[in-house]
């Protein structure tokens, strides 16, 4: 069976909720960052799938995906920098430790 739009949407939705689940349950900041990347990738997959099956003549969805990848890279750099600093000060990257920063 030829894979169609619905298969792709199913995969992206699954990816999204896996990401959300990971973000909410994991305590390790690196894992949480990875979960966010999963969510971003599910969105990218949606863009590409709709672009291919609904408006095949256009390139908007593809360009959006490229933007998202670029921004995700930048975001990952910032997030990792924050995590490294947290580790330096607290010797841990547990998200509960970051709760001490409130106030």
């Amino acid at each position: 069976m030829e894979p169609g739009l619905y298969h792709l949407l199913f995969i992206s939705t699954a990816l999204f909720f896996i990401g959300v689940f990971g973000f909410l349950t994991r305590r390790n900041l690196i894992t949480m960052l990875m979960s966010i990347e999963l969510i971003l990738n599910s969105v990218c997959l949606n863009f590409v799938a709709f672009n291919k099956y609904v408006w095949p003549g256009e390139l908007d969805g593809v360009f959006f995906t490229v933007f998202i990848i670029a921004i995700a890279a930048a975001e990952a750099a910032v997030a990792i920098a924050i995590i490294i600093n947290l580790y330096r000060s607290h010797r841990s990257i547990d998200v509960e430790v970051a709760g001490e920063l409130k106030g």
């Binding site: 959300v20 973000f23 909410l24 970051a98 709760g99 001490e100 106030g103």
Partner: protein, 648 residues
């Protein structure tokens, strides 16, 4: 009305005392601990010189056109403009009465400043005292120069505040604090009437400016006049109501019955303050106000003027009777002030507007002028006496003529002046007032004759009680009479009290601005003068030497004496009304409403907020993942909502 930029310096007259107030109020304690008195005197003497120059320029050069004194407005600024037609302005209005008041206020203020230099020496809050004096002088000058009725109201309240501050100057004495509050509350209550009166008058006249207002409301036939007369309340026209309410404000400041209760208590302030505020300047503000709006009173509401005449003469007689029984010398002087202001008020009340009829008006202003001089002199003299014996009570005095020769002579001059003995100043002005009363209201005239006899009696009771009566014995008294600053104002003012009567006052101040010859008939003067002399002789017989005649008379007329000694129970009456009616019927319900309804609503909203925040403050945990859950729930709800709308 011609604008003249050359007279702009007039604004300096009130501003110089204000400058003194600002400097001593801000820096007095640090930098002017002892020099504030001298600096103040310099500022106020500059004001006085400028006022003299203004008076000269106005009366002899600029003021008169075709034999009539015109009102001049050197400065007129629009301050708050609400619409094209309605704005509150700040301006200066020069006319005969305001120029005369300029001289009186700056002159008496200068004397009081000099006197205080010695009298208040060594006081802890010496610079603050001079700052308050400066504030008062500024406000009073602003009041007399005001060009519109709203401006006069602002300065009117400022005068009230500075009077409050100065009465309460000895704030560690409970009686002074109570007196200050009493003065403020009573005059403030009267000012409520004044404010309503201003609103009524300016609503109908559609202006706040004095000249326009007078011109519109004193000319029968204008649209504004018919609107003010046409509309009414309780069968009395709006114009009459407005003018009566404005007079209520004036009666409060000028201590007319029944709003007089604050004035005797105001004597708790330092004596020079009593001389300045509660004798010569502020208390005549009511007279000034009625004189300012006199054309409207006279032409449009003669009934109000009649009421003023009777209130004036009754206050005058009433205060004179009380003054005969008081033993605190400042209180005797306070009641005599009330009595003399009553004279000025009823003189306005019996006056007509133009020509010979306007005698009462001119006489009233003349009496205001001479009274300021001799009453300030009396108070300052009393200040020297109090300074010397350290007591206000007459029983601690007596036989002081040897110890205080200068005070003795000047006090005697002032007593003769207030009793209306020729050729002292009071004789001339009182004579004109009596003549005006004689022509218009015989009843007022006879009451006034009785009052002037009583005046002579109680003033000489005071004089003999202080300076004769018994040989002086007092271990607290110190060696000499006083220093130069204490005595110089007495001498200067006594020259005024002797000579001021010879000024042809009607040439300068009259109701319609024309020259008024003030007649003096010898035949007419016989009765008032002989009544005055009789009063003096009775006082001589009773008080010149210590004897038991006063006590015998007092016990013979026990009822009258007791009630006069207790000021005819006015204070008790006020207390009964406030404690018996006002507090339980108005105060208590209002307090209950405030405590339960108003405070209850505020407290309820506060506890509601607290309760809600107690419940939800656990959400603010500072942990990322619960936040993400809330975010997720929010997004999901929002998406379901949008989907629902979209599908529907």
């Amino acid at each position: 009305m011609n604008a003249m930029p050359a007279t702009i310096y007039i604004i300096l007259i009130p501003l110089l005392p204000l400058l003194g107030f600002l400097i001593f109020g801000l820096f007095g304690k640090k930098y002017f601990k002892t020099s504030s008195g001298l600096v103040s005197i310099i500022l106020i003497s500059l004001s006085f010189l400028l006022a003299l120059y203004t008076a000269y320029t106005y009366f002899f050069i600029l003021g008169r056109t075709d034999g009539v004194y015109q009102a001049i407005k050197p400065i007129q600024l629009t301050w708050l403009s609400f619409t094209q037609a309605l704005s509150i302005d700040m301006g200066i209005l020069l006319d005969p009465i305001s120029v005369m008041m300029l001289l009186v206020v700056t002159g008496v203020s200068l004397m009081v400043h000099i006197f205080s230099l010695s009298y208040m020496k060594g006081e802890e809050r010496f610079p603050i005292y001079y700052a308050f004096l400066g504030l008062f002088t500024f406000s009073m000058l602003g009041l007399v120069l005001s060009s519109n009725i709203f401006q006069i109201y602002m300065f009117w309240e400022l005068v009230g505040v500075s009077s409050f501050l100065l009465i309460g100057y000895y704030y560690d004495r409970p009686s002074a604090v109570a007196a200050a509050k009493k003065a403020f509350i009573v005059t403030r209550f009267a000012d409520l009437g004044f404010l309503i009166g201003i609103l009524v008058l300016s609503y109908h006249a559609q202006t706040l400016d004095f000249q326009t207002l007078i011109q519109r409301l004193a000319t029968p036939g204008t649209v504004q006049f018919s609107s003010a007369v046409g509309s009414g309340f309780l069968g009395i026209s709006a114009l009459t109501w407005g003018l009566s309410l404005v007079f209520m404000g004036g009666a409060g400041k000028s201590a007319m019955m029944p709003l007089h209760i604050w004035l005797p208590d105001a004597m708790e302030g330092p004596t020079p303050v009593s001389a300045l505020i509660h004798a010569a300047t502020m208390v005549v503000a009511g007279v000034f106000l009625v004189a300012r709006l006199f054309p409207v009173y006279s032409i449009s509401a003669p009934i109000v003027l009649r009421m003023i005449a009777f209130i004036g003469v009754f206050t005058s007689l009433f205060a004179a009777i009380i003054a005969c029984t008081q033993t605190d010398i400042k209180r005797v002087l306070a009641y005599s002030t009330m009595s003399q202001i009553g004279f000025m008020m009823f003189a306005l009340g019996v006056s007509g507007y133009s020509g010979e009829d306007g005698l009462g008006y001119a006489a009233s202003q003349f009496h205001l002028f001479t009274h300021a001089l001799f009453k300030a002199l009396l108070f300052l003299g009393a200040g020297v006496v109090i300074h010397y014996v350290h007591s206000n009570e007459m029983k601690d005095m007596g036989g002081l003529r040897k110890q205080l020769p200068v005070t003795h002579i000047t006090f005697l001059i002032a007593c003769l002046a207030i009793s209306g003995i020729p050729p002292f100043a009071g004789f001339f002005s009182k004579e004109e007032i009596l003549m005006a009363a004689h022509e218009h209201e015989p009843l007022v005239y006879w009451l006034a004759i009785l009052t002037s006899g009583l005046t002579a009696f109680y003033m000489f009771r005071l004089y003999f009680g202080i300076f004769w009566s018994k040989p002086f014995r007092n271990e607290h008294a110190h060696g000499h009479e006083g220093t130069f600053p204490l005595l110089a104002p007495l001498v200067i003012l006594s020259i005024g009290a002797v000579g001021a009567g010879f000024i042809p006052f009607g040439h300068f101040v009259s109701a319609d601005g024309r020259i008024l010859e003030m007649p003096l008939h010898v035949g007419f003067s016989v009765l008032p003068v002989s009544v005055g002399v009789a009063g003096i002789l009775i006082a001589f017989w009773l008080y010149q030497t210590k004897n038991d005649r006063p006590d015998r008379i007092a016990s013979a007329w026990k009822g009258l004496y007791r009630s006069a000694y207790h000021k005819f129970y006015f204070d008790e009456l006020y207390m009964a009304v406030t404690k018996g009616i006002l507090f339980p019927l108005v105060g208590k319900p209002a307090a209950w409403f405030d405590r339960n309804i108003v405070d209850g609503a505020v407290n309820a909203s506060a506890s509601l907020t607290q309760g809600v925040s107690d419940r939800i403050k656990g959400m603010q945990s500072g942990r990322v993942q619960p936040y993400a859950v809330y975010f997720l729930i929010g997004v999901l709800l929002l998406s379901f909502f949008l989907l629902y709308i979209w599908i529907r």
